[in-house]
Symmetry: C2
Subunit: 250 residues, 2 copies
Amino acid sequence: MQPIIYAVGFGPGDQLYMTTQAVSVLQKVDIIVGYTTYVKLLQEQFPEKQFLSTPMRQEVERCQLAVQVALQGKTVAMVSSGDSGIYGMTGILLEVVAAQGANIQVVAVPGVTAASAAASLLGAPLMHDFAVISLSDLMTPRSLIEKRITCAAVADFVICLYNPKSKKRTDHLAQATDLIAQYRKPETPVGIVRHAGRAEQAVWLSTLEKLKEEPVDMFCVILIGNSQTYVKDGKMITPRGYQLESEVML
Amino acid sequence: MQPIIYAVGFGPGDQLYMTTQAVSVLQKVDIIVGYTTYVKLLQEQFPEKQFLSTPMRQEVERCQLAVQVALQGKTVAMVSSGDSGIYGMTGILLEVVAAQGANIQVVAVPGVTAASAAASLLGAPLMHDFAVISLSDLMTPRSLIEKRITCAAVADFVICLYNPKSKKRTDHLAQATDLIAQYRKPETPVGIVRHAGRAEQAVWLSTLEKLKEEPVDMFCVILIGNSQTYVKDGKMITPRGYQLESEVML
């Protein structure tokens, strides 16, 4: 039988937000492999399981570890928070398996991505077309990130920012805010969710002009409204009704 | 006690892809309200439940129905396929509750959106920044849809198209393809998923130059790769490694 590695997106962290497929896969596999922090989250919920972990930025090594274990005849789950298919481990896992020519089947188990989890806590900010952009420049040139932000702003997409800040990257969010502010009003609603769906969860509303001052870190997801987004009764809502075309043309 | 309406995203349809929270909410509520087609999907899985439905395009009426039932003291789940917060019912439900001044709490239960479900079947096309665009012009001017498509193409986003075609809208996808083809190579990989996660599921790969000829309908989600996306061993993969900047500038 061909060995299988499941690339499992486990959502925010709690079983409440996992799909029943994710739960059953995590229950049935021999070994769960993941980033150290996520492994800790899952160990509490699956205490009888065997876990293997590697630190952040050792994604390739993590995949090689999973391949090695799978080739020994164990069934393996490689876990990502959110959806394994959105900035998660599915891609690099497929690449490592292909590069090694390993006879392994990769089965992707999708999950609730951070944008969905954050949106559900803020109201309904993603009711219309949106762009998802990571501000991390570890793997992407800053010029490309800036271009994507500008294009998303021009096109009046709701903008969802992943990895908005880290200890080393403190100015990217300010720069992104300045770019967006060229095309959107200062009072544009902004929703910030930190540790969505976890014990430390924090959810708050801000505006584009105040975004730079917000206490944002790497555990936050930021949703910036389009020209129609409004706040009512504490909920951030992007209506689906007819929208006026933005003044700014390409 | 304040009445509650749960806005539940149930994913592709099968309980396998529902979160455990979605399953437990659907099990505990008195009444499930939804679009006729989705109600049929859920009736098979929750046969003991009471259901109410309205046809497509009667979203406001559906919300009014849910509000009416909730005010009678019943707990209600308003269902959407995918994620209730992405082109789903959460937004219009919040708007109807606010417009009526109804003393009702809306609790959003996020789910696996169609982009995630489709991506998991195609490989790993959403490993980098992406834009989600609906081609339906029922509620959005075509000029705005065209602008978003062009901006997404210029910015080298992976592009995910929802509602790519309907019986009345047969030319929108061809037009979108022409716009994208101005900025992306003819051989750009395209993934098409019809009825993701359902019995009728179909998954196939194509290219930008062949997209117009594909048998696409309203049940499809289309993922168009960025300049780095490739196909290997039948999997569509967008790498996360350093990307070359696109030649096209704003």
